[in-house]
Symmetry: C2
């Protein structure tokens, strides 16, 4: 190792930032040794970013000369479009090498983006055993623990001594995604314990895994939702989660880096759903206009049509509005303020479900909390609005101010109750709390605003 | 080890779920040995949950009899209120033991919840060295890398051989939060490399850290934002991130479990801000009504007042509305649909900033994308609404349908542009994109809706 042939070693870190130009320079002048050193020494994610920008010929040159274990990693970090183009020009042997040196979960991520016939072509180059594993992983439904797990882990037996365990870790650990935690299985492959590399290292030489392992292992099943896996890893502060099949046999593990991506993606999905968008997984700038259009138009059309309900309510009260035209001026304020009040409750409860495990059991606690908060908020809005209308709005008398403010109070309470309770009902109906609630709240608040507003006007102002 | 004195070992995992009753039974019958075994064998997070439910006397008993390294962990997982009550009844020696056996970042998390005089009392029991570290950590501003890092890591020197490194890891590794990655520092304590325990284990005995370490280490500074730390760990798929001071000396590390919490919290904060709530960090059910009220009322009042603008616009067009009362019926639909169109763009761009690193540099790309999407969405809404109004709304003639649909088209384009661009402007002004955008969009869309609607009505219908 060492970097001296390329440039004084101590200086490299401080003075050279590896750029696309440097890599291209090394490729075109065929400085294979220097290239190898750069790829060994510098961060693989940054290098993959650079390789993603190279021409396909330059990238091919790199895949030809580098150590195979590095090309596997580089390949995994390339953008999907580049992976696909590379696959079509690499030789069978090169594909075999890459498959051999990439973690199964990364292979599956990449295969899922490809057309089915290309997947078949690629799987031809996999070993029989690897093909079986990949096909199994591809068969788990999206968003399950099975679909995100890797099969590259270290298995130990309970009777293994420290020495035996270490030699097993050295033997199979090179291909494992992590060896910091190893799993102990029985003769049937069922998970019976977990042991950390640290505990093995620090243990007396004559101890066996049976003594060292923790038996109260937290695990998930292949069909469990990935969100459940992530909330378990969050709750227990663990970085490795074993995945079992229905007979409790160990079939995979989920690592912290997968979970970090999932938490980020799920939050994005919730935010998109609450913003009335059909979720999109690709980067904003990479998403084509047509795809963004499709993700947005459905809800816009549905909402536009439901808002027609409010048109009908207004039309049926034309006479009232002709007598009291001033009523109109306060309509947008009423509808928007109560809509906001509902969204606030909605945002807190939807997030409470994801983060704090709120369930339908907490129904009455949520109702009570929202009712209490809504009453104080409503009272506050009532008073401020009364004062504002009486002091600053000349056209509004006391009665008109009372109608508007009272409507606001009643609607704040209703909107917050609806906003707080709807997400819980959504869980009960096995719907996503984030997606169904927002448009319903707007529609309910709008129509109720109008009905209550007009009824109060008739009662208080007279008709 | 072994669990046999309490119950047949093989059975424990399958048949016994440790409940509060079992723990209380063991405490009251003073079965100290069995208690110790339960706490060694079962998951510490679940056990801490149970201890959190015990009386203070029962909890004290547990803290008295258990191994000190376990009490530290249990303590770190207790709810804040329980921690505070325990601290007030534990002896000085017990506090010392707990401090000694808890990672510094967990101690700091706990101290930050306490009143200042209690913090002083507790720090009396810390060693001089530990006190200095804790005071340093407490001094980093909230939400910086320094405020979430731990100081319990393993430091190696570049000339260390494999043997020396292993003995250093065994010596200082017991107190480290993780030993899977060790840091290599020079004589001044500056970080020069990172080496994995796996690489040390697999290396030939005569290699030194200088050969094994990676020099292109990804790191952050103490004052960097925690969100930056989390986005770096996500980008590079790393589970350990070293933290340096301004002179590049290694002072701490951030681990994956901290980052998972931060990503979750930041997403919650964004969702709350987009729902017009001042962010709250506590669990929904644990948050008092007064606190929830305060987090919501500010925006409700601000919004209610800004909505008055729309009242003024309507009032100033009373004559127009008297001539064409049917215009009113479509107001709520127009305002809501365009509000939704704006929120959609807002949600995607706010999330794009967090997840995909959208910046002000992408301004024109965002403008172009939103303009294109908005034009198609607007056209779609225009056509559907024209058809709907002409076919199903008797009171509306062609001219009226044209006024409403044209307003909708124009406003969809404006709302999407405003929604897409505002978050980017917020970054430029060093404001949080999530918090300022939502209310501004509603206000802008509302007022513009009315102005454009009424102007088009005057132009097309005549006045």
């Amino acid at each position: 190792m060492g970097f001296s042939s390329f440039m004084g070693r101590r200086r490299v870190m401080e003075y050279i930032e590896i750029t696309q130009e440097i890599i291209q320079e090394l490729i075109h002048s065929k400085q294979i040794k220097a290239l190898k050193e750069v790829f060994e020494e510098y961060n693989i994610v940054n290098l993959a970013e650079i390789v993603g920008e190279l021409t396909i010929e330059e990238a091919l040159f790199i895949f030809k000369v580098l150590n195979k274990n590095i090309t596997g990693e580089i390949f995994a970090y390339l953008p999907a479009s580049k992976q696909q183009r590379l696959i079509s020009v690499l030789t069978g042997d090169q594909i075999k090498e890459i498959l051999h040196n990439t973690y199964t979960d990364d292979i599956v991520d990449f295969l899922e983006e490809l057309p089915a016939n290309m997947v078949k072509d690629i799987l031809k180059h996999a070993s029989n055993q690897q093909r079986a594993v990949i096909n199994q992983l591809l068969s788990y439904p999206d968003n399950t623990a099975g679909s995100i797990m890797t099969t590259n882990y270290v298995e130990l037996k309970e009777e293994h001594t420290v020495m035996e365990a270490m030699s097993e870790i050295k033997k199979s650990g090179g291909k494992a995604e992590q060896v910091d935690y190893c799993f102990v299985v029985d003769l049937n492959g069922c998970l019976i314990g977990i042991v950390s590399l640290r505990d093995i290292l620090f243990a007396p030489e004559d101890s066996v895994m049976d003594d060292l392992m923790h038996m109260d292992v937290i695990s998930v099943k292949t069909n469990d939702d990935q969100e459940e896996a992530s909330s378990i890893m969050r709750k227990y502060d663990i970085t490795v989660l074993p995945v079992l099949d229905t007979s409790n046999r160990l079939v995979g593990m989920i690592t912290a880096d997968d979970i970090i991506d999932i938490i980020q993606d799920e939050a994005t999905e919730d935010i998109q759903k609450m913003g009335a968008i059909t979720p999109i997984e690709t980067r904003y700038l990479d998403t084509r206009v047509g795809v963004i259009f499709k993700s947005r138009i459905t809800w816009l059309l549905i909402l536009m049509v439901t808002y027609a309900l409010s048109s009908m309510i207004i039309t049926s009260h034309q006479e009232l509005l002709a007598v009291y035209p001033a009523l109109l001026a306060f309509l947008p304020m009423l509808m928007d303020t109560t809509g906001d009040a509902g969204s606030q409750a909605l945002a807190m409860v939807v997030r409470g479900i994801v983060v704090d495990d709120l369930t339908i059991k907490d129904f009455f606690k949520v109702v009570w909390k929202e009712f209490a908060v809504a009453t104080i908020c409503g009272l506050c809005l009532f008073l401020v609005n009364m004062a504002r209308m009486i002091l600053f709005v000349d056209s509004a008398g006391f009665a008109m101010a009372l109608v508007v403010s009272l409507t606001m109070f009643i609607l704040t309470v209703i909107a917050k109750l609806v906003g707080g309770v709807l997400p819980l009902i959504a869980i009960l109906l096995k719907q996503d709390p984030a997606s169904m609630a927002s448009p319903i709240i707007t529609t309910v608040c709008d129509s109720l605003s109008l009905l209550i507003y007009f009824s109060l006007a008739i009662m208080i102002l007279g008709m």
